[in-house]
Symmetry: D2
Subunit: 388 residues, 4 copies
């Protein structure tokens, strides 16, 4: 179902504002740096999501629109090869200009013109659809914005907090239990007319064997047992490339864990605190999730098992690694043109994650949502759910 222009405009404005709200606690300097290639400078996220609206919508659908600054396309294009030259990804953190103030001015300009566009015209279905994609694209970057900020602060020797009252999880009210599902045919994929990405489409049948899946995520307490049992030293628990990765780790523990004397601490958005044993373990690579499951005599669920049982799970605090590789569904069709670069071109060498996290923006995820990352990445709020 396409939203009416009014609610679409509200949705747009709320989304544009939210990106800026996330950045409120930052110092100007925090907007600029890129400590690892996977982390983008916050001002780049603010500019890139704006460029997306300008380039895919305003330039084509608003006849009186004047490009704000012709250099910005070069600076803020992310990876759309078909949209022209761009700053290479590793260079994003080398750019002091445009300044943060200029990026905010750019945002204001583009939001103003989007507002005019949606107020003036009877929006076509195509325009509606493009604005919706732009909104969801920005929501996706809001999650990255928050996790990138966490990395920027957590990587700093001073380890400044983001904000003192940020809680990274809500305690569960239930005990751990195994949910049993019967073998049979299940339907997978998006199926109503609400928004989704192209990679969720192609509703299709899959056959699943009997399986069990845990209603709860693995906790820090449980993961700590794995560490203390020497999990990082047992080669047979790991994939071959996972073992190479383990050997390169300076600390044999999840990202943001720090040992001071004999005690584990954790850097969270609220600063460095003693490790909370009840919290769901997070900032784990797929390799770690897999090795933990092996050690436990279990396995990770497939993305189909997850989707088939998700209505019985508590989810939404951690992106959950699945055993599934990121591949097209049957009859997958890429969008035409540059938007076709959105998802399809990443469908190799990545794993699917399901669920959502404390960093996920409101209304951004859903039961059919497919997130994907390379197996070694762990700067997102990733977690582990076991299956059997």
């Amino acid at each position: 179902m396409i939203a009416t222009s009014t609610t679409l405009l509200d949705f747009l404005l709320e989304t544009r504002t939210h990106s800026e709200t996330i950045c409120k606690p930052l110092q100007i300097e925090d907007y600029v740096v890129q400590p690892i290639v996977d982390v983008s400078p916050p001002k780049w996220h603010l500019g890139h999501t704006t460029w997306f609206f300008e380039d895919f919508i305003l330039k084509k659908h608003k006849s009186d629109y004047q490009e704000y600054n012709s250099n910005f396309s070069f600076v803020f294009n992310s990876y759309y090869e078909s949209m022209g030259a761009r700053v290479v990804r590793t260079d994003r953190g080398n750019l002091s200009r445009p300044t943060v103030e200029e990026v905010y001015a750019y945002r204001k300009h583009v939001t103003h013109h989007l507002k005019e566009l949606l107020e003036q015209t009877e929006a076509s279905e195509e325009l509606h659809s493009l604005v919706e994609i732009g909104i969801h694209h920005e929501k996706q970057h809001q999650e990255l914005l928050l996790t990138d900020i966490k990395y920027i602060l957590g990587n700093n020797p001073l380890q400044p907090m983001y904000t003192s009252d940020f809680s990274e999880y809500t305690p569960s009210q239930h005990k751990q239990e195994w949910i049993h599902k019967e073998a049979g045919i299940y339907e997978i994929g998006h199926h109503d007319d609400s928004f989704c990405y192209d990679n969720e489409l192609g509703r299709h049948k899959v056959y699943l064997n009997d399986f069990k899946i845990s209603n709860q995520l693995v906790t820090n307490k449980e993961y700590l047992e794995f560490i203390e049992d020497g999990g990082y030293e047992q080669v047979l628990l790991w994939h071959s490339e996972g073992w190479e990765w383990v050997k390169s780790l300076p600390t044999k523990a999840p990202q943001y864990w720090q040992k001071q004397e004999d005690n584990w601490f954790y850097f969270g958005l609220a600063g460095v605190k003693p490790l909370d044993l009840k919290a769901p373990a997070t900032h784990l690579s797929y390799y770690e999730a897999f090795a933990y499951a092996q050690w436990k005599g279990c396995r990770l669920p497939t993305e189909f098992e997850w989707e088939a049982s998700q209505d019985q799970l508590e989810w939404g605090q951690r992106w959950e690694w699945t055993e599934s590789a990121y591949l097209p569904y049957p009859n997958y069709q890429k969008a035409p043109g540059a938007l076709g670069e959105y998802n399809g071109k990443f469908m190799v060498s990545q794993k699917v994650l399901r669920g959502g996290s404390v960093a996920t923006s409101d209304k951004h995820t859903r039961p059919t949502y497919r997130n994907f990352f390379h197996p070694q990445l762990r700067w997102q709020f990733t977690g582990i759910r076991l299956a059997q």
Copy 2:
């Protein structure tokens, strides 16, 4: 079904001899080099397959056996982390000793003791099973031996031939046709008591949509049309990481294709010849196979579609890239101990190939066989079969 000791011994001796037959056309120098990390020196293959029998069988099951040379374990272990220290893979081509003659002596010694072992004793089921694994392990290396030899010779500026009468394919007697398969549940995986690897086990149901699959492989003529249509220059046909890979290619064509003036030539085991347009295209990466299929408006089959239709296909000349990632089947169990390192630890970041090739040893492949490689590799006789 476990072979009786006699036939097992015949099978063993025939296999041991065949590895040496493959090396007959070589000069001593050809046994030594490692031009890329994926290619091992032929003498290493000869030693490693021998070490496998010595370490997993003779040392444990033949009470009077004396280790041939305690250093060889260090030199010829491939990747069995749990079996101790070893020469790192990239260093295999830096070792001039043991000499080729010493490796042949080592082979003779181990084969002799295996023969004694199988003749003397009533072989236990475990021993039978280990010998069978050792045989199939050596057959697997025979294929690598031949393709590694091809790379060693083809990479040389002098481009020496392997043998003048080696034909890399048998012409098909049939026209290209699409085979239609009905949607429904299919059974996948090994199902009788003949030999197979652990990764084929766990016979299980999958649901497949309607699909069409070509009875023929893509030919050089067809692939050349893709090149001439600018397939290597159209970014939207490629995966993101495939595009990076394409940019690094010195020649925008499959491995072993060479352009001299306006004509394409091909280095085969019989030497450099004009490109044979009727031959099935080969030495392609997964990225190329995928891009070709995109350009053609088709796709690659999944490994399940392939297995479900394989009895209607002509296969066995090229390993065929599938769209499937290499993952465990439901209820997959790794073998205990070091043999458990055989397959499971590679189940991430690789693609499945099905079929077999002109380099595959007799009795080595079967309809359920799952080969796997990283998507950029193309020194094997890989090929393309299309699906819709």
Copy 3:
């Protein structure tokens, strides 16, 4: 001669102020980035020069001094291995904190205490000497500050100017002439009691052959002739490692030269302008300086020839590459302790530059001053003077 406390204090305060004056035209974002490893973020220079005073002077010589922030030593130590752990050089641009404001507060605090220290006490000779080193150390960083700022701005796709009225050279009033010097023994090295670095000490004799040295630097006009004659394509003009370097250059021209259509432009601190043919050529590597001299049938002077004739040269606008390697003078003595890391440990694999540049701070250079860089570096205002 040791300055009296009063003039030393004036000298100190003037130096501390000047670093901040250099940064006046910057936006906060410009203080943070590190586009290449050789360029440090401006705020790092401001903090590091302050840490040097704090760690080498205040902590040891001012009894009531409290360390400002114990983490700053980790962040602002550059390379003094003997002074403890530090942020690795490549990571300087990944740190958003301490903020620019905090760094200025740190500067104010340390300057205040230095002032108190010099006002309160009868400064010992040792203290005097340490303050003098701290001042010259900061002056050295002022030059880097300016050239690093140039790189940060010039590397940005928006190419913002630093300040519109910055002139990068003063036109010479004289024609090019060759100065002839007679063969004989010359005295080299610092010889009065004014300040100098340890690497200038050890006044000693050298024997020089007859030589000629140009009174003028090579101009852009002359260097352009080299480019247009194909200098970058003639392998025999280059050192072997220089030729490898040339092949990696995206533009076969000095740093900051840009070709737009058929015209050369140059990014200077005053922004992008057409190339000024009368200006002394600059931002050249040693490899380029050497190849240019070869092409011209000349050579570069040695540092001894330069020092022996410097009173007849106009110098001070470009650091001038010499043919000399950076080596200790006879009887060279490193300072004891951490200050001994200042110069001596770099005396391998670097070339000596003599003179000074438009970026050099007042009173920082002198006829015996020895600057040194790796041969490929060219982000400084380097230039070419020919000899025969």
Copy 4:
């Protein structure tokens, strides 16, 4: 003085034979590998020295000469950029062909034609000079041949010996003493009409201060004291880049030293033996030589000090690191054309070594000979002589 054709021919034939004599103890496999980039396969040395004669002499000076194999120029050119395309250096060990037998046939062919050429014609001065260069070029490679063989064998886990009776030094008959030299002007460089390289020419005056130089090389016993005193752990003894190099060393000791339990062993051409404490220390990098001298309160001599005192030194067992960088002498002239690439293009970033070693061929070195290597290299028989 130009040798007469007869003695030149004898000299040539003796040299050609000697290269092959060095290779006598090798297995065919030993001729092929390249374990590090600095070490070339022995068959490459045999082919390259032959190509040098073919390309610089036979093709130009023997009218009936037919090129042996046009591909060999590509395979055996080392670095003469001006002589056309060539196998990149890192790829030398990836080539199994031409075989060792083919290389020997190539040698025979070229030697035969050189013999014919020198017997038939009254050799011109130019031809004489080229043959002389070819001879010295081959002698230079004979030294590399032996040290490369040592590396190939010593790097092998089986550590095969080269030959059981190879002695790597001759004990000195004298006690360690300091030789005192007076300050003054000394003449440096080649000065008669015997053969030398272009880098020794330009006999010129240098002024030297008073200095002392040891008549003996540093022994293993002395170097072991440095190790036991923690020399590899004291950062202030090392150059900055030397310290980085030390951190990457798997064993904090010279190349070929191995610790087994508490005892030091050494791999020599005669195999692995307990460390000989009386032997001159060898296989040291410049960084180690420098750090040792620092620790001892001494320094390394300059190449001029060495040359000025060499007639009072025992030398010829180890190439001796000097403090001098490899730079052109005053009035240095490169040979015209491709021969000009011989020396001059390496005159940056390298250190001079003086003397000669147990691996140096007869008549190859002399008091003015200048060897040069990058400071980290130590696969040659390098050593340490101290100065004050």
